[in-house]
């Protein structure tokens, strides 16, 4: 055999032996029995303390609530999703009590507005939707109402509605200025309400010749504001005082 081959064979032989030894000593005994992982890991995981009790356990004591819950739209949301792991509570029902999320931050985890959520999934903007009120004052989480199209503009545009409510325009209906298609309540992004497009629109009440009550401020449209539409300078949801 050539000298080079014999010397290289020694080097590769040592490396191969190192690999075989490493495989022998370092691979866990149960590796590969079931799949490409350590089979003993299954027992190790199974031996860990169980924290969740499961739906059945809740039903055995809280029969009425579970029955109500199972009939309604949250039926696929398990009890422990909101109330937390219940195994300890099942073992000692009186000593260990489970929390119920009553603060506002919890429900928006699923129901906060996010464009990537499916169309029709009930969503609100937590900033403008009845701020400061805990969700459960209006909604029963065990029996949530079927979602319906909003009746009032304020359901979605709460911030504007609240601003307008304390302004001089409080008594004007939203649809007085915004022409709104029915479709807007179903697909708000695709069917948008209009905005007043001409100066004459505001002039109906605020023009010099308008027949509105005389306390309402007047401007001469011919000289005031040049070519701008009124709402480019004045905020109609909270118009400045005289």
């Amino acid at each position: 055999m050539r000298q080079q081959i014999s010397r290289l064979s020694i080097v590769f032989g040592v490396l191969l032996l190192a690999l075989v030894l490493a495989r022998h000593f370092l691979i866990p005994k149960s590796f590969g029995k079931i799949g490409h992982y350590r089979a003993a890991a299954v027992d190790a995981i199974a031996a860990r303390k169980i924290k969740y009790a499961g739906h059945q356990a809740c039903a055995s004591c809280h029969e009425e609530i579970v029955k109500l819950h199972d009939d309604r739209r949250h039926r696929n949301v398990a009890c422990e999703v909101c109330h937390g792991p219940a195994a300890a509570h099942v073992e000692a029902p009186t000593e260990i009590r489970l929390p119920a999320p009553k603060q506002r931050g919890y429900c928006p985890l699923c129901h906060g507005y996010d464009p990537s959520r499916p169309t029709g999934f009930p969503q609100i903007d937590p900033v403008s939707h009845n701020p400061l009120k805990p969700c459960i004052t209006c909604h029963n989480p065990h029996a949530p109402e079927t979602p319906h199209t909003p009746e009032e503009c304020s359901a979605c545009h709460g911030e504007i509605a609240r601003t307008k409510a304390v302004s001089h325009h409080a008594l004007l209906p939203c649809t007085g200025c915004h022409e709104t298609q029915k479709q807007h309540k179903i697909t708000p992004q695709l069917s948008r309400p209009s905005k007043p497009a001409s100066r004459a629109f505001c002039g109906q009440c605020h023009g010099v010749d308008a027949s509105s009550p005389k306390e309402i401020p007047r401007v001469d449209l011919a000289t005031h504001g040049e070519r701008y539409v009124c709402w480019q300078c004045h905020y109609p949801h909270f118009p400045e005082l005289k």
């Binding site: 000298q3 080079q4 490493a22 590796f31 490409h36």
Partner: protein
Amino acid sequence: MDPQLQPLMDVLQQVKGYIYPNEIELQWGLLVVVYPYVTGLVAGAFILASLERVFNVREVQPTYRLSLLTALAFLIVAPLPLLAHLGHPGRAFEIFLTPNLNSAMAMFGFIYAWYLMVVLLLEIWFDYRKDLIQWAAGETGLRRFLHRALTLGATDLSERSLSFDRGAGKLITLIGIPSAFLLHGYVGFIFGSVKANPWWSSVLIPIVFLFSAIVSGIALILLLFLFSSLVRGKDVDMACADKLASFLLYALIVDFSLEMLDFIHRLYEAEESIKILSQMISSRLFLSLVVLQVLVGTVLPMLSLFLVSPAFRSRGLLAAPAELRRLVYFSAAVLIQIGIFSTRWNVVIGGQLFSKSLRGLTVYKMELLGIEGFFMSALLLLLPFLILYLLVVLLPPWPDREARVADG
């Protein structure tokens, strides 16, 4: 606000359109850009070395050993960006112990080991064996010990033995060429097989990666060849430099054609992703793709090499003096390195900038410090040159040095 949230808030302000929450922050950063860049240099340098060995291109002979050592230096560094990116380097060896044949990523360890142990180290060993013995005979101290140890005790210098070395070297190069294709084609394969990502998922990606690897490897050797001649105070072997520049131009033309083919194919196919991809190219990737990769990194060097290098005739289109040719080659090679690095950047970073909703774009915010940061990547790009320096000191690749000792 929580100061830890500040970086997220900065990025959020630049997010455009709709994007899923888990897509805002990029998971593969600068280190994953460095990795295909470095493996590309390895494959390219080796393929250049094989030109002399297998295809008998005499002119590039002076760069043969330099190419091998460069490939080795970069190959040693190639897995480090991945180790730094993944963390837990102590677990890295486990892919060798329990090989998973279903995972391309898991098999990379074997491709790497094969290429390092069976191709590069063996080829270098067979090529240097004679010199190692002769160097050791005329030296003392540590150098003598190291050179003698590297012979592994195979000190037979008979003609039969030396011709066996040459034959073995040639055989290994023959195995080495498909191996080098495998090494870098594999990197492209990983990206090309991500079927959920329209920017990556293309059968052309492995081939484009391969040719850009050859381009970057030849350009790197050209740079090192010119630089080493300068440092050693030797006249540049212009026949070699001209040949390298010619090969660089050929490879660049093939690489550019493939990239354009991929580009035109995407445009013509116009899949549902085309809108967001064209948005991305014209906004987020404009500088790195259109300016750096295509104009500065490909078209400009291609034109300058086309004008100056004797690629298609015995002289270039412009009869430039040697000094000017060297300058053009050097500048073109630097620009090509910038261009190929941008290519890797555009693939890795670009593939994560658009949302799977195909309706939004995010941004990549590079860190400066930290293990995924700029300085870490810069260190990993400088490290191969340090290793190469040590290798060159230990195993001088210069043909004149080989001859002098052989004569002495």
